[in-house]
Every structure is written in C-alpha cells, then in structure tokens.
Amino acid sequence: MEWLEALLTSGVRMTTPILLAALACLPTLWTRDINIGLEGVMIFGAFFGVALGIATGSALTAVLLTLVLAAAAGLCFGLLVTKLKVDVFVGGIVLFVFAGAATAYLLDILFGVKGNLSDPGIPVLSSLEVPLFEDVPLVGGIVSGHSGLSWLAVILAVVLAVADRRTVVGVRFRAAGSHPEALSAAGVSVVKTRVIAQVWCFALAALAGIEISVGQLGLFTVGMVGGVGFVALAVVIFARGSVGFTVLVSVCFGIATAVSFQFDKNVVPHELTQMLPYAAALIALVFISRRSRRPGRTLVGV
C-alpha cells in the first residue's frame, strides 16, 4: 500500500498548481478572453515568489507581494485586451515568450546566475499538518503535509462554484462573453467585468507558479513550469466552463502526472514519462471534440 499512499500524496501535490491555474482561467473562459499566456504568468509567479522570498526572508510576504504584482499585471493585460483592443491570442503568445526571456534576464541581472537559482535563503511555504488525520493510512497523505496553497485551491474552487451557481457574479462573467450588449443594458460595465476576470486569472496563475517554486521545490529554474499552464488550459476546455468538472479533470491530470513519476527510470525513460500528461491531454482533447462535434469551444475566436 505504500506505493498507493505515495501516489496519492504526489497526486495532491501535482494537482494543486493545475487546479489553481485552471481556476484562474475559468472566468476568462466565461468572458471569452481565454488567455493562452497563462503559462507565462505562472513563470513570473514562480520567479517573483523566489526572488521576493530571498529579498524579504518570508514566504508569506513573498506570496502577498507577488499577488499584488500579478493583480497589477492582470489589470494592465485586461486594459490592453479591452480598451486597446489587443487580440487576446497575440497578447497571450507575447506574454508567454516574454515571461521566459524576462525571468532568464532578471535571473542573470539580479542574481548573476544562468538557468537556475538555488539558494538556502529561499523560504519555503510550510506544510500544514492535520493532527486528526495525519496518521490515517492513505487519507493522511491526501489531507496532511501539503502547503497552504493546496487548501487555498480547494477553498477557491468552492468560492468560485458558489459564486457561479448562487450569485450574480457567474452570470455577469458569462454575459460579458456571450451577451455583452445585454450586460451593458443592465447597467454593468462589460469592460470592468472582463478586466476583473483577467485580474483574477493573473493572481491565481501566479499562485500556481508560487506553489511550484516556493511551495514545493524551494528553487527557481527556467522552464520549471514546464507546460502546466497549457495542461490547465486543456482542463478548462474539457470542463466546458463547469467548476465541478474543472476540479475533477484537474485531479485526473494531477494523478496522471503523479503516475508518471512512479515509473522506474530504468524501465520507462523519464523523457517518455514526462510527456505522459501532455499526451493524455491531447488524446482526451481529441476524444472530447469527437464526442461533442460542437464548434465554438475554441481558444481563438470563441
């Protein structure tokens, strides 16, 4: 049973950044401004989490400051897309490429290193132990010993689900995408709604990046996000805008990633196991598209 416990523990760890990034993306899917630069925001989040952690000496302060920076960046991106009419596809690609180059640049300029930053001064988010359950076989590994961001992801999923089902927020986000004239006639600013979706997206995507760098590894490496943002995009497309399905599909991809780590490197080379989540996402994308045959659920021109 040890392997199963290790798999589940690793599964929760792998699920957290995917879930946070997918929840980040969800409101932008509703407003039809889905941002393929999500991966870029995660790269920035991972970098600033580490850089600000070294500067302040506190992981929590680093998280909060990174959140503020991400929200400000989300505001700028939202204004670019809404007020200045920059195509969100173009903006997303620029954001992704820019993030890779800018973090490599900052790494060199600020810390004098190329490629990766590993320093004993990097604070790591402490893991939360749940006293009642930590000794329970299987369950203990799932609920105890993970960073606070894992729990925050669960809370945010509940908040978003309630906001979507029980409040007017979800309706407004969806209307901003599908019926902007109706939303405007109801006296709600379409621009403001779309910008808020981007601010939410950037803040949560930055948290997803922080979870990888400060929450799990305690270092920063160029390319460490490694496509998790793109997997999250796939999750959101599969879930078709539903919060519940987003959580479910995120868990599936988290487990798939964890499974890829369980293979013996001597039996299955790690180059193959690393691409397992992406291959699974691609196959699932084909399967779901084949089943639905419904045009319109696309990243470009939704």
């Binding site: 009419k85 490429v97 800018a102 796939a234 180059e271 691409m275």
Partner: protein, 365 residues
C-alpha cells in the same frame, strides 16, 4: 482574429495635419517602444545605450562576414516563420512550430548520420525531404483533427509541442544517442556528404541560403499570386463564403497545415545540416515561438514576415555582442521583439482612444 495585429476600431480622425499624422504615429509607436526598452535595459546595466547598440549593430551588419553570420543564423527562422504564415492564411492558428522543428531536426540528423552511399546533393535532398515529409505529416494530422473533428488547433498544437519534444529527446537520448557527445541528448554527427557546402568560412553561411531564397520566392508567389494562395486567403477571411463557393474548406486547411509543418521541418533540417551538424536536445529551444511571433508581426504576409525575420536576426546578433561588451543578457533581443509586437498590436487602439477622447472633450463626437 482574421486580421491579427490589425485589430482596431477606427475612431473619427481629426482634420488637417492631425489626420495625416495618425498613420505615422501608429507606425512609429512599435519601433519607438522597442528602442525605448532596449535603451532602458542597457542603461540599467550602467552602460551608454547608443554606443553599445552601435557596437552590437557593427557586429551584426558591420562587414561582409558579419552580414553572412547574421543571415546564416536567420535562415531556419525565416523558413519556420513562412510555415506559420501559410497556416495563418487559412485561419489555422497553430502554435506547434516548435515541436515540428524538432521533428525535422531529428529526422534530418538521423538521415544525415545513418544513411550512406549517396552523393552529397542526393544525401542533402533526402535529409531535407524526409524532414519536411515527417513534420508535414504531423502538422497535417493536427489540421485534419481540427478541420474534421473540431479539435481546437491552438490547444492541440500547444500540447503536441511537449509530446514531440519529449519523443525527439527520448529517441536522441536512446536509440540514436552518441555517448561520446558532450551535449545532452545528442545524436551521432552527420556524414560529410549531408553537410551543406560552406560559402564564407567561419560564418556558417552555406549554400542553404539559395534553398531558402527559392523557398521565400515560392512562398510569396503561392500566397500572393497563385490560385491556391487566393483560396487559402478566402478560407482564412471567410470560411462560410468559401464553403458556399463550393470549396472543400477542410481539405484546403489540412493542405495549408501540411505545407506549414513541412516548412518547419525544413527549418529543423537546416539547423542540423547547415549549422550544428547533429541533433541535440536544446538545438531549437524557443525558435518555434519566435517564428509564431514574427508571423504575427508580419500580419501573415510573407514579405512583411521575412522583413521582420531580418530585423530580429540583426537584433539577435547584436544582442550577443552586447552581452559580451556590456554584460546585458542576450535575452534582450526577445524582450525587445515582444515589446515591439505588443506595442504594434496596441498602437491602433491607443491612438483611436486618444483621438476619440480628444474629440469628446472638444464636443465633436
């Protein structure tokens, strides 16, 4: 999405000189923003921006050898960018160039290293052709899924990058690995018969430049002057009109993606046959993404895209020199090109916003 970076809603223009100035301002905003970022980044390193930039430009354009070096570096990028342009013409917004370049590079490296007994031109042609065919088939497959099963082409091509990269590196680290190589995940070096003939020593400029010139002219002619190009453009701008005109839209879209992938495959082959001499796991990191950006900057027009490839190649070569003399990381070129693209995309909207605000304040709206 069809007009990419030309997205703007024209506000009523002011009269007289103001009206004449608006297009000029829109055109100048992007390069000015790029220059501004370059100056800020160099200045922040404690160096004089203008002399440093001039040293970089001297390195990239200052002599025949310098120009040859810059051109040689830009050749694979040029072919890959043209490939992306072809796909974008039909409205297939693929971002899978990176993975397809890797496929082309690996196939050409294996053909160049293991296939023997051929005269040089045949060996080179076979390596290029197999690279183009394999990458073209991969891209066409993604296109077929998009055209027939509505599989999102952006997402499927994004994910395919990681799958293809993983597969190529797995093969290069396994069955095709050269244990003696210093670079990680490297294959055996290609045979001399597969190497392109050098034109100018110490510059990596080879006869591949003629192949790329033919490809550029061919791409321009097909996209701008041929019936095929006209059909692709019609499908990209109005697929419904194309369908009602009796065109088999999915077939033409798959064809455009096959050509797009083939170009990316050729770009990968050029990296191996004309430059690196073997496949390595980091042979083309980021090249596909730069190609996507340059295709967007070129508004999916071949000549404009080639022009931007030239500008980027000069900037890239200059930034390498700037890294040596001013300790400014060579990522500078990517940062500047990103700034230029986002400024170019935002400039029409920004100018229109300013003009409409100005008119509202003067009570003219």
């Amino acid at each position: 999405m069809s007009n990419l970076v030309e997205v703007s809603r024209e506000a009523p223009a002011p009269h007289g000189v103001g009206r004449a100035l608006i297009p000029v301002i829109k055109a100048l905003v992007a390069p000015a923003a790029g220059l501004f970022v370059a100056i800020i980044l160099i200045q922040s390193g404690g160096f004089q921006p203008l002399p440093t930039i001039l040293v970089g430009l001297e390195y990239s354009l200052g002599s025949v050898e310098a120009i040859a070096r810059t051109v040689a570096w830009g050749l694979p990028l040029c072919v890959a960018t043209l490939g992306v342009v072809v796909a974008y013409r039909t409205g297939m917004f693929t971002v899978g160039a990176e993975g397809q370049i890797y496929v082309g590079a690996l196939v050409s490296a294996v053909t160049g290293a293991y296939v023997g007994g051929l005269v040089p031109w045949a060996h080179q042609a076979l390596s290029i052709a197999l690279a183009a065919l394999t990458a073209g088939a991969v891209s066409a497959g993604l296109g077929w899924l998009a055209a027939h099963w509505d599989v999102d082409i952006v997402l499927s091509s994004l994910l395919s990058n990681y799958v293809l990269l993983g597969l190529c590196i797995f093969l290069a680290s396994g069955v095709f690995n050269d244990p003696a190589a210093e670079a990680p995940g490297a294959t055996l070096p290609i045979q001399p018969s597969a190497e392109f003939l050098s034109l100018i020593p110490r510059t990596q400029l080879t006869v591949a430049v003629f192949l790329v010139a033919v490809l550029c002219i061919g791409a321009w002619w097909i996209l701008e002057r041929s019936v095929v190009g006209y059909r692709w453009r019609m499908i990209g701008e109005s697929p419904r009109f194309a369908t009602s005109s009796g065109m088999d839209v999915p077939r033409w879209q798959v064809l455009s993606l096959a050509v797009s992938g083939a170009c990316c495959g050729v770009a990968g082959a050029l990296l191996v046959l004309a430059s690196q001499g073997r496949f390595a796991s980091e042979i083309a990191i980021g090249l596909g993404w730069i190609a996507v950006m340059l295709a967007l900057m070129g508004r999916a027009k071949p000549l404009l895209a080639i022009l931007w490839v030239g500008v980027y190649s000069v900037m890239q070569a200059a930034s390498r020199k700037i890294e040596q003399v001013a300790d400014v990381p060579s990522d500078l070129a990517v940062l500047v090109i990103c700034t230029i693209l986002i400024a170019a995309a935002a400039a029409p909207g920004a100018v229109d916003l300013v003009v409409s605000t100005w008119r509202r304040r003067r009570g003219m709206a």
